[in-house]
Symmetry: C2
Subunit: 200 residues, 2 copies
């Protein structure tokens, strides 16, 4: 089972486990930020901070969660592409190893949210626009006030689509960038642009 803290209950091991637990707790809180349950975030945190592969039983024991929960969380994280299944010779158990590059993790999270949230919303808004384009609206007789409302409705809809489309474009761009480029871009933008006053 747990080979993490062996007989060596040295001060070093204790401090390390304590730090890991703190990391897990903090990361778990962030679960809602990237749209997953606290437990799933904690499982990821554990594997990320430990760095070495762990099996289902290790995870269950360390986080005090059920087998079913561990299995589902691990599977989901594999699906997200931030956990790899690994095997050890002479061991029938399956082990899981976390992706170590935070930029890869970031991309996975962005990809997932784009797919699950951004794309459906953009598609939905586009449909509404098509259904209410000027000239449609089911025919003729609308008074002036009504016509004004419709025009302004379309403007608001359009402006929202514009912003979301731009954001979506940014997201796609991010997904297409390799880690090194990403780090450079983020650093340059965050530090260089704007500065409170900011020029483009």
């Amino acid at each position: 089972m747990s080979q993490q803290v062996q007989q060596t209950d040295s001060a070093g091991a204790l401090a390390l486990v304590a730090a890991q637990d703190r990391f897990i707790a903090v990361w778990g809180q962030m679960g809602s930020t990237w749209g997953v349950s606290r437990t799933m975030a904690e499982v990821h945190a554990l594997l990320f901070i430990v760095g070495e592969p762990m099996c289902t039983d290790d995870v269950m024991e360390r986080l005090a969660i059920s087998r079913g929960n561990a299995s589902m969380s691990l599977r989901a994280l594999v699906d997200w592409g931030i956990l790899a299944r690994v095997h050890k010779r002479g061991d029938r158990k399956e082990y899981f190893q976390a992706e170590g590059d935070p930029w890869v993790i970031l991309r996975a999270v962005v990809a997932e949210r784009m797919k699950r949230e951004m794309h459906p919303v953009l598609a939905g808004l586009a449909e509404i626009r098509d259904a209410t384009e000027p000239g449609r609206a089911g025919g003729g007789a609308v008074d002036a006030a009504q016509a004004g409302r419709i025009a302004s409705h379309n403007e608001r809809l359009e402006s929202m689509i514009e912003v979301l489309g731009l954001l979506s474009g940014l997201g796609e761009k991010l997904l297409g960038m390799p880690t090194e480029q990403l780090r450079l871009a983020a650093g340059a933008l965050g530090a260089g642009l704007g500065g409170g006053g900011g020029r483009l």
Copy 2:
């Protein structure tokens, strides 16, 4: 009460209300994206797409929600800074008007999530780092393997802090940019930087 669709049940009014309802439904789905309940997102969607001020009773009726729910959602949206309280002469009721600029809305959402999620996480991670900086760890006797684990733990922690710090910097920058600059920057970045795709 509802002055939205008067006696004029013309085709135009019907189509407009239908489009509004669809917008509200789509926007409501996105609630989890920006970290609020579906109802709060729907209340915002309603006021945004209608464009004109509405009072609590209007909102309750249109969305079929309770007074308490409407009151709390409206209040929260005012706190977020994307709804303004307005008054009508000769009317004791309070009306609410949505911010019309989607970029302002975006900034409000980013600001809220930075405050509620990014800052606490960064603070938590920084604390953990301080508690486990090399030389600490409670003193001496750690064997070589343990020392290696601690070193690699610190590296992983550091790399995660680096990425989140960079993202946080980006967020702050965004919050400091006026609408026009934001639009330009997003457009330029989404279309220009990097390679691959980028189409809406």
